[in-house]
């Protein structure tokens, strides 16, 4: 009878088994030092309301002019909901007000609070992008006006003017198609406080370039765009990717330790 312990195969098998156990033990030891989970991109889906520049002086004047038509639970029934435009809204659900106008006179805006009546329609509640009106026990949803750019952006030469500057849509399209041209005219550098981006500093701006015409100056630190704090490249790209759909761009820069708001209206 051949002893099993003398078998060559058994010897090899034992050695292989030992190697397997050592390999497994080593991998378990490595595992103890490795992270158990990876890195995921946290997508914070914040609702970002459309940036609207509202001239309160005009609104107050219009409100006074229209005060007769916005009396609670009154008004004429001659206007259809399709003739109305929702130009802005403030608040949510059962509190707040909306800014509405009739298509026949777009510039005449009216402020309607929840519960008030406009042209026969009672404002019932406010959603994120729409307002719900009631007429004859039927609900009507009026969506926020989708702004179309019409015309051109107005440039204001006065340096310190807070009035909107005008920007041609063609200029934006040009820079969008030729992004390298942007960096010929302007250099921007991120400014960090520890790990967090505080803003983006203009380190160079070409004289007589289109960029210089926008009122930006060397040393300006751009901290906000359309009310969104620019804390990452993603914030910048979010604005950049929507630039074709915007009709107004507001940026806030820190200049001489003071915040300054620059507003651009985009026109065809």
């Amino acid at each position: 009878m051949i002893k099993l312990s003398n078998s060559l195969l058994l010897g090899i098998f034992t050695k292989l088994l030992v190697l397997l156990v050592v390999a497994k033990g080593l991998s378990l030891a490595i595992l103890a030092y490795l992270p158990s989970d990876g890195v995921e991109m946290a997508q914070i889906k914040n609702y970002q309301p459309q940036y609207k520049r509202v001239d309160f002086k005009v609104m107050i004047q219009n409100t006074q002019e229209n005060s007769k038509t916005i009396s609670p639970r009154t008004g004429s029934n001659s206007v259809s909901i399709t003739n109305m435009i929702l130009k802005g809204l403030y608040g949510k659900k059962n509190s707040g007000f909306v800014i509405v106008a009739l298509k026949s006179s777009v510039k005449k805006t009216s402020i309607v609070a929840v519960g008030e009546v406009f042209s026969g329609f009672t404002l019932k509640s406010i959603d994120l992008t729409s307002a719900i009106f009631i007429k004859d026990s039927k609900e009507y949803v009026l969506e926020l006006e989708k702004t179309k750019s019409t015309g051109s952006v107005t440039t204001i030469d006065e340096e310190n003017s807070d009035e909107p500057k005008s920007v041609q849509k063609s200029d934006i399209s040009f820079y969008e198609k030729n992004p390298k041209e942007i960096w010929k005219d302007i250099s921007i550098q991120e400014i960090k406080n520890a790990q967090e981006i505080e803003g983006f500093k203009v380190t160079r701006i070409a004289q007589k370039s289109k960029m210089a015409g926008l009122g930006l100056k060397k040393g300006d630190m751009i901290i906000k765009a359309n009310n969104i704090e620019l804390k990452s490249y993603k914030d910048v790209m979010d604005i950049y990717s929507k630039i074709n759909t915007l009709d107004t761009i507001q940026i806030v820069v820190v200049r001489n330790n003071q915040e300054k708001e620059l507003i651009y209206e985009i026109h065809e």
């Binding site: 050695k15 292989l16 190697l19 397997l20 050592v22 390999a23 497994k24 080593l26 991998s27 490595i30 595992l31 490795l34 992270p35 158990s36 989970d37 990876g38 890195v39 995921e40 991109m41 969008e176 198609k177 030729n178 992004p179 390298k180 990452s232 490249y233 993603k234 790209m237 950049y240 990717s241």
Partner: protein
């Protein structure tokens, strides 16, 4: 003697293969992710599967500085110590890159071999054409040979200007980091 040495190498090879098989590749990948995060690179939303000797990722989104820059349908990672490769298939670049390069890349393959230790080789094919690149680790220099597609030549003239035309009719790009 020769028999003993051969046997030793055979056992050693077996041990290496066993170690490769048992190595927690998923966790190693997580470590890589954490390292990449320090360079503002995040791979997200991916499915990770340890398939013995290889690691497979599905539907991975690449974020650079928090901006979604690309999506890859499949990534296949091979760690064989002597020969390592990463094959990325079906890549769609973000629209942000639309003005520089066609957005669809069919395949991108990175290879690193111990027999050519100073170079990481890259091969890519897609709507842009075909490219072969070599990154020299010591000199930190990148050399790319590109065979651009007709689409690339016609619609991405600005990007093409960044390439140097070689005498053989191809294009190349060199950069040192």
């Amino acid at each position: 003697m020769v028999k003993k040495v051969s046997l030793f190498f055979a056992y050693f090879a077996f041990f290496l293969l066993a170690l490769m098989y048992f190595t927690p590749k998923e966790n190693l990948y997580y470590l890589l992710e954490k390292e990449l995060r320090t360079y503002d690179l995040i791979i997200s939303n991916e499915g990770v599967k340890d398939s013995g000797f290889t690691l497979n990722l599905e539907n991975a989104d690449l974020f650079i500085k928090s901006i979604k820059s690309a999506n890859a349908k499949a990534v296949n990672v091979n760690f064989f110590a002597l020969y390592n490769s990463v094959k990325i298939s079906d890549i769609t670049l973000s629209n942000v890159a639309a003005s520089f390069i066609p957005l669809q890349i069919d395949e991108l393959r990175f290879t690193y071999s111990i027999f050519n230790p100073l170079n990481i080789n890259v091969y890519g094919i897609g709507e842009f054409g075909e490219a072969e690149a070599a990154f020299n680790v010591l000199e930190r220099s990148l050399h790319i040979d590109v065979k651009p597609s007709d689409k690339m030549k016609k619609e991405y003239k600005n990007s093409m200007r960044q390439l140097q035309k070689s005498q053989e009719g191809g294009y190349s790009y060199d950069k040192t980091f």
